[in-house]
Amino acid sequence: MLYALKIATRYLTASKAQTALLVLGVAVGVFIFIFMSALIGGLAEFILARTVGDLSHITIEAEAVDPAILISPEGHVLAVVEKARVRTASLADAETFVPLIAGVAGVNAVSPQITGAGFMTRGAQVSQVGVTGVEPGLESAILDLDGYMVQGTARLGAGLVVLGQKLADDLALRLGQTVRLQSSGGVASVLTLSGIYATGNGRMDESSVFVSLSTARTLFALPQGVTRIEIKLRDLNAADTTALRIRALTGLDAVPWTDGAAQLMEALDAQAQTGYFLKTFALITIVIGVASALLLSTYRRRPEIGIMRAMGAGRGFVIFVFVTQGALIGLMGGLSGAALGYSALLPFPTRDAFRAGTLPLDITQGSYGLAIALTVIGAIAASILPARAAARVDPVTAIGQ
């Protein structure tokens, strides 16, 4: 079939301007496909990074113990211990589990924490806060605390506290000043403000404070164990499977972030569906363009097809010539469009450098190979109808034209 390839190539090079226009049309379609892939993929990355990026991808929380009950010999409940306001449940064996979890494939960081509620008091100002005790050195393991610091440092130590900008403003606190933090259990500590952060999340900036794990142990009277283990993954999309693996490994109730993000997942899914539609339309445009151009070529070359048939070219040969033209157009258009798309995406920031106000185009999600493959397949499919029409040309009438 080398000869059919030669004829197909000759036909394409014989009308250079027409072929160039056709390839350009296909390339534009491929460019749109790649651009949409990069945009939809980048947008999903951006949304996830903004919404989930600073959250724990998998969380293990201490399960509250069921309240004790007193049952009569007849089986009636006589008394129930009221649920304590102060949470006492803990993951007592955290020290054993943390290295195990850290060794699971895909896990980027493991942060054992003690969390609870408290009140922060400075003078007459009192604010209700959520307290998170983390191990020094792991301050930015889950939330990028270092990245959000506006004053001071995120490093935690004994007697130090890091809090949000809004809370600092509410309490009129400046770096180095002291503040009283009382836990819901009534234990109080006087802490020195070592750092102020601003995440842009209003609720967090006004009510979350970070202390060292040892400070939190004192505040919440938890001499050993932790109340929560937060886990960050390299790929947040792998949360479901990794959570299952951790559950199997530790027996703990590892909850992936997706469990509480059904609406977000639906929105991302809808966005992806929109992308598929747009990409499908781009492919349909390519197929229609190639099919119409080749049909025109078939009509224009009817006499030549008739001569070939008279000289002994079979129908299969004629089909191969036209299908090969379609494949070559698809390949050239696919490669050109992919190169065009890649070049156009190069100036945009990488996924790690997405910033608000810029188009989150992810050059790594251009689906270049898929775009080229689908274009070639689409162009081949588009050429089948013209090729069959060419093979059906009656040599007698075609030569007489």
Binding site: M1, L2, Y3, A4, K6, R10, Y11, A14, P303, E304, G306, I307, M308, R309, A310, M311, G312, A313, G314, R315, F317, P395, V396, I399
Partner: protein
């Protein structure tokens, strides 16, 4: 000489019902191997239809056709395509060269399409044929840049490329001036003499017919002389 081909009671009807036109009305003909015959007759007598059927490009409505001992009426399209490629050459009135190809590429087309590629031996034979046609300086010329006479000589070379037993020529000189026409006919006569290729040449030109050793006259869909 032995019979190269034989047609018996050929009938060809175009259209149906009241619009039906019977072009061949039971025509019978035998061509011997090595013959050079002129096919004569007025326009509409059925000459071109007969050539088309003999060239296996069209099947008759009824009748028999055997060539080289093969029943070509019963053959499938793919079998006829292969048969045509090997055993029959065509020369048309309007040369009908492939415009995007050179003279040599046009000549070797019948071999290349059979073998799936342009082999060195095919190129060598194509060159020899073009030299024989007096076109040694036009071998790699684009076919569209050749003169009418040159194009027709390329067409003759193409018809001879696979060494066919039969060459069907439909008014091969009808579109040429007298000098070019005689050049083409001299070449055909030479090949007929030297290689024994059978030629059936449809023509209105008595001078062209005079160069042939046999005259077959067709009239009203039958051989009349």
């Amino acid at each position: 000489m032995s019979a190269l081909l034989e047609v018996r009671d050929l009938v060809k009807t175009f259209g149906v019902g009241d619009a039906a036109t019977r072009v061949l009305r039971g025509l019978s003909l035998t061509l011997e191997a090595g013959e050079m015959a002129a096919l004569l007759g007025p326009s509409g007598s059925g000459k071109s239809t007969l050539l088309t059927i003999l060239g296996t490009l069209m099947k008759p409505s009824s009748g028999g056709y055997t060539m080289l001992g093969q029943d070509l009426i019963a053959a499938q399209d793919s079998e006829l395509t292969a048969f045509r490629n090997l055993h029959i050459g065509f020369v048309f009135q309007f040369h009908n060269l492939l415009p995007d190809f050179t003279a040599l590429e046009n000549v070797i087309f019948p071999t290349a399409v059979r073998e799936g590629r342009e082999t060195p031996s095919a190129r060598a034979r194509g060159r020899d044929l073009l030299v024989r046609m007096g076109l040694e300086e036009r071998i790699n010329f684009p076919s569209v840049k050749l003169s009418g006479g040159q194009k027709q000589r390329v067409a003759v070379a193409r018809a001879l490329m696979n060494g066919p037993e039969l060459v069907l020529a439909d008014e091969p000189t009808g579109n040429l001036d007298r000098v070019s026409a005689m050049q083409v006919m001299d070449l055909i006569a030479q090949i007929n003499r030297e290689e024994g290729t059978t030629f059936l040449i449809s023509t209105h030109d008595e001078k062209i017919a005079d160069l042939c050793r046999r005259r077959i006259v067709v009239g009203d869909g039958l051989v009349t002389g």
